[in-house]
Amino acid sequence: MTSVEPVSVRASRASVESAGRMIFSMVFAVSYALCFYYNWPMFAYYPQVREFHLSAQLQTELGPPILWYGWLATAALVSAVVAVVIPRQVAGRLWPGLAWAVPAGTIVAILIYEKRWFL
């Protein structure tokens, strides 16, 4: 015997799920930008010696580091925690346009910051 879920329950569940994803995506964009601006990698990878180091302190004797993996990991962890912690009722009241406006704003901010390479 199969149970049929009412449409309103399905819509409500979808809305709750969507709110959580929206929070994750918004927070990810902002937290990634902050991680790279303030250099908060969860870890650094040194490809020359193929080693991961938890310390963000630059260890020049190990060769050039890759911090991008660490920034991604920090941003993913922070956004996942925030997406879980923020109550769905609060998230559901946010303007849906924030889902694209926040990443778009972050991209503009990054482009402005990175113009230093072209001056």
Binding site: F28, A99, I110, W117
Partner: protein, 153 residues
């Protein structure tokens, strides 16, 4: 091995570029489909592209992340030695855009989840356009950097 990896990464990027451009053209379409090539290019079932776009974005980004160490060890120091700051800059932006794109995938998937909610049409449109912008940027930058030796005397 690195050349094979670059070719596979480039091919996946071509598929991703095609899929996201179809979807972006379809969300931009305002007039009923006519018979021109451009109209037909956008006259697709946009929602059906969502899963392939997400899968291709993930696989292409993972491929790029795996190729990154070689870039960091060989290419970037060379660009720095040659004082090609702009080339380094466009790559920095490429990695940031890839990261933002990865973070956008959950809400992008949600916005395109069938049945498509009418009140999410604007969200779908702008998320798709942002994703298309960053995929185009990353595609062009990747190819220009890959061919830089031949492009810049």
């Amino acid at each position: 091995m690195i050349i094979a990896g670059l070719i596979v990464h480039g091919l996946l990027a071509v598929f991703l570029l095609g899929a996201v451009t179809h979807q972006a053209m379809s969300v931009l379409k305002r007039t009923p489909a006519r018979s021109s090539f451009v109209d037909k290019f956008g006259a697709v079932n946009a929602a059906s592209y969502t899963t392939p776009i997400i899968a291709l974005f993930l696989v292409t980004a993972i491929g790029g992340a795996l190729l990154y160490p070689q870039y960091r060890l060989d290419v970037r120091p060379t660009l720095e030695d040659l004082q090609m700051r702009a080339a380094n800059g466009v790559f920095e932006i490429k990695e940031h855009l890839a990261a933002i794109g990865l973070g956008m995938l959950p809400i992008y998937a949600s916005a395109w989840k069938p049945p498509l909610a009418v009140d999410q049409a604007a969200t779908r449109k702008y998320l798709t356009l942002i994703l298309a912008f960053l995929v185009w940027w990353n595609f062009l930058v990747g190819h220009v950097l890959n061919n830089l030796k031949g492009l810049v005397p």
